[in-house]
């Protein structure tokens, strides 16, 4: 396209959720020319839906709390493939990061002492698993994500960050040296395509829960960052690891927070039995999410599910009393009444494990710098590209994320990447250049879509994709079933490449955006499928019927999916934290 | 702080207070007049004008008249800035609004002077 406008910034952040806005804030505060490209107005990002809180050892509930205990929980929760240097960084930097948010105005709930209120969440312990349940999740009622996202947006307003609201990044611009020079983006309102050029491009595009038919994720969670990275030929890590949240509202998919169980709620089967006592005698309903989700599915498979079809279980809250529910879980009352037609004050909520979080993503170091591997399998930094938040795989969540750790991940690594870019810019980071061909290449996909004249509709293809993923790559996985799914996906690739865009208008054309999103969904789905089929073991959220045990000998490592060859490789897990001893892999029980 | 519509330098708060305070005076005065009718069932011009021979009543009337003028001005100014804006009238809005407001000022001034003359004139 000739005459395309170029906008130039020191740093451009793609995504206006928690991670993106925390990174932007860091850069804007130090006066760098920073832009946030976001496909929805920032406060509409999916961070807004986070409910329960942000887990962090601020020692409010327990004055003796220690970030090392949080680190232990996180390493164990990750089923030992979380990178220990990154987890160490997150847990130790966490308190400072949370205090900064509070100073910015985040309206945390409070204890009688006036400190931030902390509630118990799954997988939390004191004294390295020996001291019983901890309460470490800092909460603003059950609207922590909303409070956090609005606070960050407000902080950015204060610091004059440039927002390109309702702009959609379509692809990375990569030059001949393999460096990232910026992105191609569409201004949704006008339909104009622009080259947004920057010294540092930060992906904070969030997750891709929409690859599944049933998900707690917002409609906008279409894996745009992962899609762009894969199309640019970069690998993704641990992408087979998808968290199924135990308590999605049956039928609607909307989330009810783990905080419900933290406050004392519990799951029951059709006989009214608190079944988690059998599966996790100590932590019970506050075991790791993967453990609880699997237990629920087993209950259902063994005929103890609730309802006419016996296809869900119940979350009981009524014993907590109306007062507690009103003050601690007001949003849950609202959601249950709206989406489950149930009043939790009186009756239990029907729930079912629902796709919730992408543990995998673009591999990065603790500074947010995106990584790939050379032929020898060594890490290589991708010049100019950064990733933070759910799209990134630092990896602090490994094979299973603990509740409350995602908000912490967002702000800690958003801040870390911001700081690192700040430093690089301070040292005179130069703007790399792209040739006309490089830019044209990045526009190929968009041009092809704009020229499409026949083919199937986005909604049909998307539904098909989501059903394949739901049926073949769910809570329990099996080799032959997954191979079948991969076959179906490869048949779908061609059809999605030929998707038909019948509305070619410029102004606020959401049909075009949805078509572009569909291609990203597909990239994520295919990577998930191939990586899942490749990991011949059960670990964390990845549970296989045909390989029921964890295989530390072969798979105590990250998976790396390389899109060009559609190959699954391996990458070592970091077991070398700087200030504490390594947490050696142990049998994981709750 | 919105500064670009002239309101003769008053703050929103003072307008708001004047509006309510003047309303109280107007209500009190209305009651007072009503009471005089109730107490004088055979009201004729003699009685009526004797009521206004009392200086206290004249002063009260003057205060009420001033309150009425202030109340009317704030009210009319508000109405004009609600309904006579560029959203409704386009570019000529400011001209129309100022003309309207000038008309109001003039009318209010006439009533005020006329009222003073009635109460305090011979």
């Amino acid at each position: 396209m000739t005459g395309m406008r170029t906008l130039t910034f020191d740093a451009v952040i793609v995504g206006g959720g928690g991670a993106g806005m925390r990174a932007a804030l860091q850069l804007a505060q130090s006066g760098y020319n920073t832009a946030v490209i976001t496909k929805v107005f920032p406060t509409r990002s999916h961070t807004v839906s986070a409910q329960g809180g942000i887990t962090c050892a601020i020692a409010s509930d327990d004055p003796n709390d220690d970030w090392r205990w949080h680190m232990y929980d996180t390493v164990k929760g990750s089923d030992y493939i979380g990178d220990q240097d990154a987890i160490e960084y997150m847990c130790s930097e966490g308190p400072q990061t949370v205090f900064e948010l509070e100073h910015m105005g985040l309206p945390f709930s409070r204890t009688e002492k006036g400190r931030i209120y902390q509630r118990p969440f799954g997988g939390q312990s004191k004294d390295f698993g020996k001291g019983g349940q901890a309460a470490r999740t800092c909460a603003a009622a059950d609207r922590t994500g909303h409070a956090l996202l609005h606070t960050l947006y407000q902080g950015n307003l204060k610091n004059n960050t440039a927002f390109l609201n309702e702009w959609y990044a379509t692809d990375l611009v990569k030059n001949q040296d393999g460096a990232i020079v910026g992105v191609i983006a569409i201004c949704i309102e006008t339909g104009e395509t622009v080259f947004v050029k920057s010294k540092a491009t930060v992906f904070a595009t969030g997750g891709a829960g929409r690859i599944y038919a049933s998900t707690t994720n917002a409609l906008i969670n279409t894996g745009d960052g992962v899609g762009m990275a894969l199309r640019a030929g970069f690998p993704v890590q641990d992408i087979e690891m998808w968290q199924f949240h135990p308590t999605g509202i049956y039928g609607a998919g909307t989330l009810v927070t783990e905080g419900c169980r933290g406050e004392g709620g519990y799951l029951i089967n059709k006989d009214g039995e608190r079944f988690m006592e059998r599966y996790a005698p100590n932590a019970k309903d506050l075991a790791g999410r993967d453990v609880v989700a699997r237990s629920m599915v087993l209950e259902i498979l063994e005929g103890r599910g609730c309802g006419e079809n016996g296809d869900h279980v119940m979350l009981k809250l009524d014993h907590l009393g109306e007062e507690v529910l009103n003050s601690k879980l007001p949003g849950i009352l609202e959601l249950s009444r709206t989406f489950a037609h149930v009043d939790p004050v009186k009756e239990p909520i029907p729930v079912v494990p629902t796709c919730h979080y992408m543990m995998g993503g673009i591999p990065t170091n603790v500074n947010g710098q995106a990584l790939t591997q050379n032929e020898k399998g060594d890490d290589v930094i991708i010049p100019g590209l950064f990733a933070v938040g759910e799209v990134a795989c630092v990896s602090v969540h490994g094979a299973n994320r603990l509740g409350g750790n995602s908000l912490l991940d967002l702000v800690v690594f958003g801040r870390a990447a911001g700081k690192h870019i700040e430093e690089m810019l301070g040292q005179g980071l130069e703007q790399r250049e792209a040739s006309a061909t490089d830019i044209e290449e990045a526009q190929n996909r968009l041009s092809k879509l704009n020229e499409s004249s026949s083919g199937e509709s986005v909604s049909t293809l998307r539904a098909e994709l989501q059903n394949i993923m739901q049926n073949h790559f769910g809570v329990f996985r099996r080799g032959d079933f997954m191979q079948d799914g991969i076959q179906k996906l490869s048949a779908l690739r061609e059809r999605i490449a030929n998707v038909h865009l019948d509305d070619k208008s410029l102004t606020f054309n959401t049909a075009r955006i949805e078509a572009l999103e569909l291609e990203n969904l597909f990239e994520v789905a295919e990577a998930t499928a191939i990586a899942a089929e490749g990991r011949n073991e059960s670990r964390g959220a990845h549970a296989r019927d045909d390989f029921r045990e964890r295989d530390d000998e072969n798979w105590l490592c990250h998976s790396m999916y390389f899109p060009k060859e559609k190959r699954v490789g391996k990458r070592g897990v970091n077991f070398s934290p700087k200030t504490v001893d390594t947490f050696e892999p142990q049998v994981r029980s709750y | 702080m919105v500064m670009n519509v002239t309101n003769l330098g008053r703050s929103g708060l003072s307008d708001w207070i004047v509006q309510r305070f003047s309303a109280i005076i107007l209500a009190a005065y209305s009651l007072c007049i009503l009471a005089s009718f109730v107490m004088n069932p055979d009201m004729d011009f003699e009685t009526w004008s004797s009521i206004f021979d009392n200086n206290a009543m004249r002063l009260f009337s003057l205060i009420t008249l001033l309150a009425l003028c202030a109340h009317a001005w704030i009210g009319m100014w508000t109405i004009s800035t609600d309904y006579m804006t560029s959203l409704q009238l386009g570019k000529s809005a400011t001209f129309f609004r100022i003309m309207f407001q000038a008309g109001c000022v003039l009318l209010i001034a006439v009533y005020l002077l006329w009222g003073i003359q009635i109460f305090w004139g011979n």
Binding site: F41, T43, V48, F99, P107, T338, T510 | L87
Partner: protein
């Protein structure tokens, strides 16, 4: 089910029209209005609306549903359409339409930005969080939950007449959220900024904002509190 939708595409249309679309709905399920819109978009991909979280917390899909502003994603069909009736969808009133159900919200956001929607505290922060009692924190309940969906402000006649000068219920609710926060030290500056005949005082207590807020918040009450604070501030 008949759905009547406000259609306008500036690329092709001179004037907006109401278009009737027939949609088949499942009989056993009470869909949300947003679900119905998704079905419409399956038939005609050129129908345009905003949406994101689909659970009433992001504030994207504020629109006028059978005459009342609300969020499409948490408005069940049964509450807005009588059996045999039709669903009528229009963009939020009072803001310029970009296309179909999508309005230009810049002026709404500008009013929000005007009230300095961020905590101001010039004292040096402590090493931990600033302390706040649960009672003081409770003062923020009913204020901080706003999702900026604009259902209230676009339902307010005063905002219709003076969208550039009257902050509107959404912005004022947030103004009070910071005035009420014991950690904020800029009350005087904030109040001085609000003390003109438009920013706050165009509120006539019509309470249309309260009637439509999908989160059940009460901007009129917050405006009343601001007024009281202004009186104290002024005397």
């Amino acid at each position: 089910m008949l759905v009547s939708i406000y259609r306008y595409n500036p690329d092709t249309d001179e004037k907006p029209v109401m278009q009737d679309v027939e949609v088949e709905l499942p009989e056993d399920k009470d869909l949300m209005v947003l679900d119905v819109l998704a079905l419409v978009k399956q038939q005609d991909s050129s129908v345009v609306y905003r949406r994101s979280c689909r659970e009433g917390v992001c504030g994207s899909d504020g629109m006028n549903i059978n005459g009342t502003n609300g969020l499409a994603c948490i408005t069940p069909m049964s509450t807005v359409v009588k059996p045999g009736g039709k669903l009528v969808l229009r963009p939020l009133p009072g803001l310029p339409v970009i296309r179909d159900l999508v309005v230009d919200m810049s002026i709404f956001y500008k009013q929000y930005e005007k009230i300095k929607p961020y905590l101001i505290n010039d004292t040096a922060p402590p090493a931990i969080e600033r302390l706040q009692s649960p009672e003081d924190r409770a003062k923020l309940d009913g204020l901080y939950e706003c999702i900026l969906c604009a259902c209230c402000s676009t339902n307010c006649p005063s905002f219709w007449w003076n969208p550039d000068k009257f902050i509107g219920p959404a912005g004022l609710l947030q103004a009070y959220r910071f005035l009420a926060d014991t950690r904020d030290t800029a009350d005087n500056e904030r109040l001085s900024e609000l003390d003109d005949p438009f920013s706050v005082f165009r509120c006539r207590g019509i309470m249309n904002c309260v009637a439509v807020c999908p989160k059940g918040l009460n901007p009129t009450r917050a405006i009343g509190h601001i007024r009281s604070m202004l009186i104290e501030h002024g005397t």
